[in-house]
């Protein structure tokens, strides 16, 4: 009840404000310093698991070749329009990614890119670095994303 009344007044205020304030809702400018998030990344990117459905990934010591082969075929169909395996293209190259990022982060970036580029400090920085080229959500299943991760281990 109180909340509703507050909402009502908030709405009135909003209407009151309309037309006399300049537009402050432009996208958060990329050059605004964000010391905290930068620090978080600089601290240790490998501890950042990203934001999304994946909270832990188990990997065998040796590469699961069958899984990696499947991952390669998924990658070729769904990812190669923007990612070359070993060189920078529209987006970064996945080669060596597990030396730079946690496996959970990689899978969350594949499965939940919209939220990642808005909220995850590393993904936000990458979006800027790659000229605001968005990471497309290609709606991979978790199993396919896991297979793609295994393929990345072979690069």
């Amino acid at each position: 009840m109180k909340k509703l009344v507050l909402r009502f007044f908030a709405l009135c205020l909003l209407i009151g404000a309309f037309g006399c304030s300049s537009d402050k809702s432009a996208p958060a400018s990329s050059d605004t310093p964000k010391p905290k998030s930068m620090l978080a990344e600089e601290a240790d990117p490998m501890t950042n698991k990203g934001i999304g459905p994946i909270t832990s990934v188990e990997m065998t010591a040796a590469v699961d070749q069958t899984l990696a082969d499947h991952g390669k075929s998924v990658y070729e169909k769904m990812c190669t329009a923007c990612h070359k395996p070993t060189e920078k293209f529209i987006g970064p190259a996945p080669k060596g990614i597990l030396d730079r990022r946690s496996p959970e982060w990689v899978m969350n970036m594949i499965l939940n890119p919209e939220q990642m580029v808005k909220e995850d400090p590393i993904a936000k920085k990458l979006l800027v670095e790659f000229n605001m080229s968005p990471m497309a959500n290609q709606h991979l299943t978790e199993a396919d994303a896991r297979a793609v991760l295994e393929y990345f281990r072979t690069l």
Partner: protein
Amino acid sequence: MKNHSNQLQHFLLGLLAVSMLALASCGKTNQGANTGTLGGNAASKTYVAPGQLDEFYAFMSGGFSGQVSVYGLPSGRLFKVIPVFSVDGEKGYGFNEETKPLLNTSHGFIPWDDAHHPNLSQTNGETDGRWLFINGNNTPRIARIDLSTFETVETIEIPNSGGNHSSPYLTQNTEYLMAGTRFSVPIPQKDVPISSYAQNFQGALSFISVDKVSGEMDVAFQVLMPGIDYDLASCGKNQSHGWAFFTSYNSEQKNSLLEVNASQNDKDFVAAINWKKAEEYLAQGKAKEFPTNYMHNVYNESTQTATSTAKKTVKVLNPADCPGLVYFLPTPKSPHGIDVNPTGEYIACSGKLSADITVHSFANMLKAIDKKDFDGEYQGIPILKFESVLGGVVKEPGLGPLHTEYDNEGNAYTSFFISSEIVKWKVGTWEVLDRVPTYYSIGHLMVPGGNSTKPQGKYVVALNKITKDRYLPTGPELTQSAQLYSIDGAKMELLLDFPTIGEPHYAQGIAASKIVPKSKQFYKLSENKHPYMIPSEKDTKVVREGNNLHVYMTTIRSHFAPDNIEGVKVGDKVYFHVTNLEQDYDVPHGFAVMGANTAELLIMPGQTETLVWYPKKEGVIPMYCTDFCSALHQEMQGYIRVSPAGSATALKWWLGEEKQVQ
């Protein structure tokens, strides 16, 4: 509790809206009738807050635009114009190679029609949210729209017809769609004097079957009727399921100045057709195969391409060979709208030149047939006695009744064109309960589910022919309009005016909850069997077959692959087969080529579409993405080098570096 707080919220929002309205009307003088009866809380009843969703979909005929428009109710917000019978450059409909066949007819490719009566598919007499059907009035056709994609997926031409107006009203399990001809014509068509109408003209009433699973339509059979004008139709429900009813005018059989000459007889006819009986006669082999020509066009969602099939014969039943198939019910004053009520017992017939509404009783009709209570015959078809089939008369409710819809409480709502109003009356007692003016000259009207066995009630939408002073003027041509009225109180209340495309004829409304869960978000690449689809950038290529050049192209945010092509020559026919590799919701890409004599492509995620371009002059031609797709959309562009005919420029294509895309 939740309800309570919702009410409070609505109250507060209403208060806000009212105060804003009060502000807006400061200094305005009262414009009398022009303000309608807009009550103080009307705005709150149609207010759908930003980010909130409407309760109903409304599918409106686009009339002479040939299209269907999709609105939300109660907000009156326009969501989409679905191209159906007319080409639409915005969507590439009728311009790209995949959808062109949908506009094929026995007269060739036709870029336009006049679309009148959307009808939602039904199961057990209830709208089921699977398909929407609509008639093309001018070159007789019916189209089917798939409500998971909101795309036209099939069109079928109606043979032996001269104008498909009484259509596509459907039976309670969508067994058949009605397709009665408005204009009788010589069947088969031949060169005869127009004044030989009475001798040479006949009217075909077609029954179009619908496959239960695929939805595919077929002309199951036609009933060959006397040459008069068949106007509108309604199908039986519950106990009257198995019958279809068509209004008619021009029992005078005149072919000129119908305005006067077709209004001489005091009564015309409603044709009652026992289609279950027709099925029996078909099984007995009573139908004759008539040679004819008509096109059937089907869009295959798997190949994402429509194909046309020419059909050459149609099964025709002649009432003279089929006793009990057709009866005429005399009905006063050139009946127009005909609407069976939700129980299936009453058939409201609006004599458009009458001051009354005539309501026939199905039970009385069966009794009259049983007792052979005939009043002679017309062209060999038995006429039932008017007094024997009559169920009731709504006395002098208004002038020029046209159409009736029903609510879930036994009430009927009839539109009155001449007196510009909606009149609410009680089915069974025939008393007038309420009336409300419309602005102006209402044609059809629509209650969500109002022609089914389970009307949802709540609102009635008036579909008006004239707006005059209701909107800012836009030169001589003014917008058409719809008006939303609440019907859940004792009095109908005008809530909202909103403009419509073309001339809105009939409309259908359905609870959003029946459609939203089935709405497709994107086409899966793995299910795309388009013959020119490529699954990834490494498959992009350009293939020359003589003067035909096939470009296998892909799009993803934000580039084309390839985006540079050389070796195209003047005189070539270039096919751009563009596959959108995106697999996410709301990421279409557009594709346009400078100087191409066609529309853009607008390719949904996972879809393949084809643009054909005839390069005419040498030079370097830009191409680009027309649909803002990302921050780098403006960079989504490319070039095609056009060399003179016969030149030696090598065929090359690339993305990024000048080499063939691997």
